[in-house]
């Protein structure tokens, strides 16, 4: 399975370690909050709102270099907008992999 990485963050920071750490800290703060809101909306069957949450989480997925994960998120967002839960498991596996990664860095 594709793993999160810091390629984009490294390229963006251009060697500025202070910026890099600050950005990682912001992601570490925002990601769990966004994930929680997603699960709350999903569990309440508010698929339209859950789709909005997936939309926002897509950015974090792409920042962490998960190109295939991004495609899964796009497909899942579209499914939710149509009231379907296709790609849910794959998407939540990506969230899980990011959660573990953010705990390690």
């Amino acid at each position: 399975m594709e793993q999160p990485n810091q390629s984009y963050i490294n390229s963006l920071s251009g060697g500025d370690q202070a910026f890099k750490q600050k950005l990682i800290d912001v992601i570490k703060k925002e990601f769990p909050e966004e994930k929680l809101v997603y699960f709350n909306n999903y569990n309440a069957k508010n698929y339209k709102l859950a789709a909005e949450n997936v939309h926002k989480l897509k950015h974090k997925i792409s920042i962490l270099g998960l190109e295939k994960g991004y495609e899964v998120a796009v497909a899942y967002e579209n499914s939710l907008l149509e009231g379907s839960t296709n790609h849910k498991e794959a998407f939540e596996a990506i969230l899980n992999s990011i959660t573990i990664y953010l705990e390690e860095i």
């Binding site: 963006l12 910026f19 950005l23 912001v26 703060k29 925002e30 339209k48 909005e52 939309h55 920042i63």
Partner: protein
């Protein structure tokens, strides 16, 4: 170019500010997590360029553009490539950046912004049907009960997805309906749609700033296209 960044995601704001810091001609004046704060800022300050997220809760980037009388250059930043066609209906939009944004692509967008003259926004005009009805009461269906609302007591109606929120002097009601439906039920001598998400009771206005009105404690954006009608309806000295 003096610029501002509008995005509800702190990570995105930080990334755009970092990209800006690598371009000597850019000066980031402020960052805003929502469009309303930016509108208030723009009422007092001029900027040359706005980095604007499209997909924000309650108030999208396009809603925001509609409130600007003379918009500066705008670069849209989004995770959704599907709005590109809509984006280019606006003359003020100089580029459309899909996240995650690379420095190379960002620099290209800045080049376009620098090359483009600042023009007022133009958009295909839209026709809005305003109908009035008589009578002072409006019945709304809430939890299978028909609740009577005194129409003159309504000061604001706000669209919220599949629902509308009807705010009155005493109480707020969330109703499964559309702004268009309620607009047809409200008398047009009292009510005016000032934005695609808002209908206001013009008798309840406290004050009007350039592109927003204050009603009670709510600051409501006024679309550029709706502003002339609003001004026409006021008893101006």
């Amino acid at each position: 170019m003096n610029c501002i960044v509008i995005d509800d995601e702190a990570t995105a704001r930080m990334i755009i500010s970092q990209l800006c810091s690598n371009v000597p001609s850019l000066n980031v004046l402020e960052e805003f997590p929502n469009a309303m704060q930016a509108i208030k800022y723009l009422n007092q300050n001029e900027v040359d360029l706005i980095f604007l997220d499209i997909h924000m809760p309650d108030f999208t980037g396009f809603d925001f553009i509609e409130t600007l009388k003379n918009p500066p250059k705008i670069i849209l930043t989004t995770s959704d490539p599907n709005f590109a066609i809509q984006a280019f209906e606006y003359d003020c939009i100089v580029d459309y950046l899909v996240k995650p944004i690379t420095q190379e692509r960002f620099n290209k967008a800045i080049g376009k912004a620098e090359a483009k003259q600042n023009k007022p926004v133009t958009k295909a005009s839209k026709t809005e049907k305003v109908e009035s009805t008589s009578g002072n009461d409006l019945y709304v269906n809430i939890d299978r009960r028909l609740i009577k609302i005194d129409i003159p007591s309504i000061y604001l109606v706000e669209a919220k997805g599949d629902y509308i929120q009807v705010k009155t002097e005493d109480k707020n009601y969330t109703v499964h309906s559309t702004l268009k439906k309620i607009e047809e039920k409200l008398p047009d001598n009292l009510f005016l749609k000032v934005h695609r998400s808002y209908i206001i009771n013009i008798k309840k206005i406290i004050d009007i700033e350039d592109n927003s009105v204050l009603i009670k404690k709510d600051v409501i954006p006024v679309s550029r296209s709706n502003r002339p009608e609003l001004m026409k309806r006021l008893n101006l000295l």
